[in-house]
Symmetry: C2
Subunit: 198 residues, 2 copies
Amino acid sequence: MRQFVVSGHDAPTTADFSLDDLAGGAGRLDVLCRCVNSAFFLSHDLRENVRVWLVLADEFAVRFEGGELRRLNPDERSTAALIRNALDSREEAIGHMEVESSPGVFLSRRGFEPVLEKVAEESTVVALHEDGDPVGEIDPPEEPAFVLSDHRDFADDETGLLEGVADTRVRLGPERLHADHAITIAHNWLDTAGYTQY
Amino acid sequence: MRQFVVSGHDAPTTADFSLDDLAGGAGRLDVLCRCVNSAFFLSHDLRENVRVWLVLADEFAVRFEGGELRRLNPDERSTAALIRNALDSREEAIGHMEVESSPGVFLSRRGFEPVLEKVAEESTVVALHEDGDPVGEIDPPEEPAFVLSDHRDFADDETGLLEGVADTRVRLGPERLHADHAITIAHNWLDTAGYTQY
């Protein structure tokens, strides 16, 4: 299982946003949608052995489960519609109990810290860092969880939490990348290392 | 200079498409928009030394010029709006003469073959192929032009044209990828090889 956690700092926490303004009024939800795309899509195929956690403004988490996903399309707008559907169920998400809003899409009332704790229990948490080991020189962990930030840098408290649970720090390349591009490179690292199951 | 050519088989050739239906009525323009995103964006930066050619239904070409681009944003919708603006100038694009519809965005009446001929004059044409050399094992060319297809495979005549001009065949990884993901991996290959200028 490959997991990706993306912190969406300005992401909406209610369903009353317009699909016509994802990069504006919807708090850069376009970034998170592209992360979902990069995490799941292969040419004419979907990576089933992938889980994505979108953390919305440290308040809600949307979990996308590769093996159960239906109705996921590559474009930003349709992915945003799935997230909006999930937020439509926000009153049913009580505590950490999840609501499945569409097949393979689950909403829970969880911020960055509880999501991070959960993935740290199950996975090797990988932090991306410019001082990390270049991925070309090391073997990837078998059950990695990559933790990324949207268009903003991690907040100081997020950095502290991540440093507390990170098992390894890696560098994907010489340039600082958008989160969705980083996910693509991370997959390629795992694919090339022979982790062919997806 | 890094060049990327993307053939959009179903892409619109007139400006009368809706930005609300990029993945449907606009002939999967979402794919081409994500290719533009992958080609140009770094975290808080733009790769200036990049040129992208979107071929629209083998009839028009939209050239994005990294060093001159303004008003490019990462989301699909705003990039589609730039393409729609370009198509709004289609009557002014006569022969191969280009029209600049917004800073760094140029429309010309060119199909796949003349675009390919043009990039082949200037660059080392790189075809992506599952039997190509794995990128981890070879050095990239200095002035590469990667030629990609949208959600469809290349048509037979496109494959023939590409084979005619391709200088090298490479394989980006074990999985078949979406075109925009392939662009991200190609950049990472060049970045990692020390081609730091962008």
